[in-house]
Symmetry: C3
């Protein structure tokens, strides 16, 4: 029998002992079935159990088992938790099915942000229904119904409760910081984002869950849920990317390699490789574009949707006629390493 | 005699014992005059006192009085404050006049964010002159003149003082989290915002004080001071709404029901119901618009100000001619519940 | 012998005892050479030493020396650090050369944010190579390689580690809060920004290092690295300013006095004084502009780069023809004090 993923984590509970969020230091894909069987045996897990609380008394054995399989980080975490007297949770996903619990949903989001799965390649159907709306505070995650009491209790001690976000998704970096990235304002990248090595998210950048960048990328605009940006592409300051083909339903938008979406620009279509959208220009699927034939110079009009996904295009608005034009892009965008270092 | 509002709260003082901010767990509109009289008597308040410090020794009696009027949350807060040895402040507003103290100003802002009054329906004239510029830090609110000393003292202990904001207005959710909302980055909603049930403020959304949403709404753009957005309208990512009619002085802008202001779009006029402004298009009051007669197809030119507040309009920039056009909007925007759940 | 700058500060080290960031309460320009000599003597500094650790046993003597030169704030900080048992670091820059260490780089950034030097007037060449990528957390700055361990240790105690930013630059206000400013969301202003007295940075505003405002200014858009905005100019909500002349390499962009860059607008050229760029219009250096002769009304076409830095210009996109036009701006922008107070 094969398994999809497993992880040992620390979870926060509300007063009703519902788990409201989970942190897994080391999510594991495709764990060995026999080894999983040992864990199941130690913890007396039923065959279908996906979320199992691990009491302190079993943590040492569990740590040994993780260490035996070279999952040293989890072993270390288990031992630290013994010292800290914190019970843990073992989450086992037998198959890649829609998450049906908070621990399962958080594990899926961890898989994405740990770069173990790419956007759209793990099943997160219905995740909004599973996740709870949480107040993310300086005192940790608080279930919404309990927030007023926390606020009063804190104030009554002469202190303040600081609420950074009220949302179903936490910010990624409180759970995962993948290698080789910078995120200037971490509140703008949700857990479940996939950030490739070499990605910089500037203050105005944003990345939703199940979306992200393949590799080196300078992101100063908004990468909406579902959107994937391939290596060497820059998303300019304040640029907007629609989640799905505008007006077109479910076609998810992607940006190819070495593209530049200019500052304050926007796209409602996919881009192939080496495309440029001029600063300040918004192309939706329905935008009528005057396409310039590179050989004859003749213009023909078509909807931008017809150009979706094509490479080597330059989109501008002719500043004398106001017409949106598409030309062949002679200049490949080469990411200037120094420029990136200086942003 | 009738009263406008009352609340029992916890306040922060600077070194000169000036109150610099206040938290009220349960602001109360139109309290019963006789009951207020009992409070005034217990606390020996003069007839015109609007802000009264409540010493610990009176808190039990005050808690009982609030409980007797079924203000259980305040009673609970008073009792927690006895335990925490935190003195409280009673703020009584006899009439809806311009706030003349920090506690009065904060009470007005609480009334808005608790949805007890709508934007523009309570007098906050001159509130900027009353509020102090505060450093909002991980150690709580600090009066600006004292900040350097705090910074040095914290560092000298080998710790760090973290300043999240230097502003007259705090973020709303440190004081009030109304029901049925989400705010992905809470630093972008000021106390005094009015967020209707079902409102989601995404990371790029923003709501100023005395502004907000009536009901369900997806806000990914900026709702400037004074602006009110009616139910079922969406403000797209990075969209801008001017606070007053652009170039037109004091006319406050509003957005009707079921409108869509596209991503990176902007408006300097009001919208009626079921209007759409195309992504990337900025309409100011002075924008000359080519209005298309739905019957004849003829175009007539008028300033956008003349269209302010009208319903069922679609604003686009013709991508072939560059002209800004206004057409009748055949498609009512129906908020897609699933879409909202997934942002 | 003259010296460029000196400061006594508190630094964070990683596990290898590398300094990863420094806070200086009072950076000092051009200190007296004889006085510096006394410090060097007390601390047995070599003649070329630029960064010297100051052990606790010397702090009292060092405090006396700073006090003798009327640097009272530093003296106070040294004495607080004795109490707090925190060792300090003395950073001495003999000349204005490129920073070659973390303490030197942080001192340069402090000089800018303390308004002791203006953008472009201190040498920060190669600062990206010197600064380390840091996790800025609720527990203070953490060197990236140590972050996973901190995350696990915190969670194992049942607490949460909150990471606000993963970046080479910290936010300014954790180090310096210059007088007469407001910053609604402080995560958007980097250390090394220069904010003139009277500057307000609203939630959507942003200021990078080595960039900023000369004096009173309302900033709701993005001031990119290197850009300087002169007094009385407003940068509208979501407005974008390119760091260098777009397509033009190294020419740094500036904005003159009393300009208005409209909401969601953008510029890739410099503006002189009293210029206006209409909301939503992006002018790059290559934008072909139809310039209207104020005498004859005739239009002539030129690239925007040719207009860079000129005064009294109004840039709009003609909403009937779609052409970008430049006219003489008859209306000087007078910053409305009340408007500013209300943002």
């Amino acid at each position: 029998m094969a398994f999809y993923a497993i992880a040992l984590g620390s979870c926060t509970e509300n007063k009703q002992h519902d788990i409201i969020e989970c942190f897994y230091p080391q999510p594991i894909m495709a764990p060995n079935a026999e080894w999983v069987g040992q864990l199941q045996s130690v913890l007396s897990m039923g065959p279908t159990a996906s979320v199992t609380r691990v009491p302190l008394k079993h943590l040492e054995t569990v740590a040994d088992l993780f260490e035996s399989a070279d999952y040293d980080m989890t072993a270390q975490f288990a031992r630290l938790s013994i010292e800290g007297e914190t019970e843990l949770v073992l989450t086992l996903l037998e198959q890649d099915i829609a998450p049906d619990s908070v621990p399962a949903a958080y594990l899926k989001l961890h898989l994405l942000s740990h770069r173990l799965v790419k956007p759209h390649s793990t099943n997160i159907d219905g995740i909004f229904g599973v996740l709870r709306n949480i107040a993310w505070t300086n005192l940790g995650p608080i279930d919404m119904p309990e927030l007023p009491e926390w606020q009063m209790a804190t104030r009554a001690r002469g202190q303040t409760l600081q609420v950074f976000s009220v949302d179903k998704f936490p910010k990624m970096v409180d759970y995962v910081v993948p290698s080789g990235i910078r995120i200037a304002d971490s509140s703008r990248v949700r857990l479940g984002a996939y950030l490739g090595e070499g990605t910089t998210i500037m203050h105005e950048g944003f990345v939703n869950f199940n979306a992200g960048t393949e590799a080196a990328s300078m992101v100063e605009g908004r990468i909406t849920a579902g959107v994937f940006v391939h290596k060497g592409s820059d998303i300019g300051g304040g640029a907007s990317i629609m989640g799905t083909l505008s007006g077109g339903g479910k076609t998810v938008i992607s940006v190819g390699e070495s593209c530049l979406v200019g500052a304050n620009a926007g796209i409602g279509i996919s881009l192939g490789d080496r495309c440029i959208v001029e600063a300040g220009l918004y192309i939706t699927a329905g935008t009528k574009v005057s396409v310039v034939d590179p050989d004859t110079g003749n213009h023909s009009v078509m909807k931008a949707a017809a150009l979706s996904g094509l490479s080597d295009l330059l989109f501008i608005r002719n500043s004398l006629t106001g017409a949106v034009e598409c030309r062949a892009n002679k200049t490949a965008v080469s990411l200037n390493a120094i420029l990136h270092q200086n942003d």
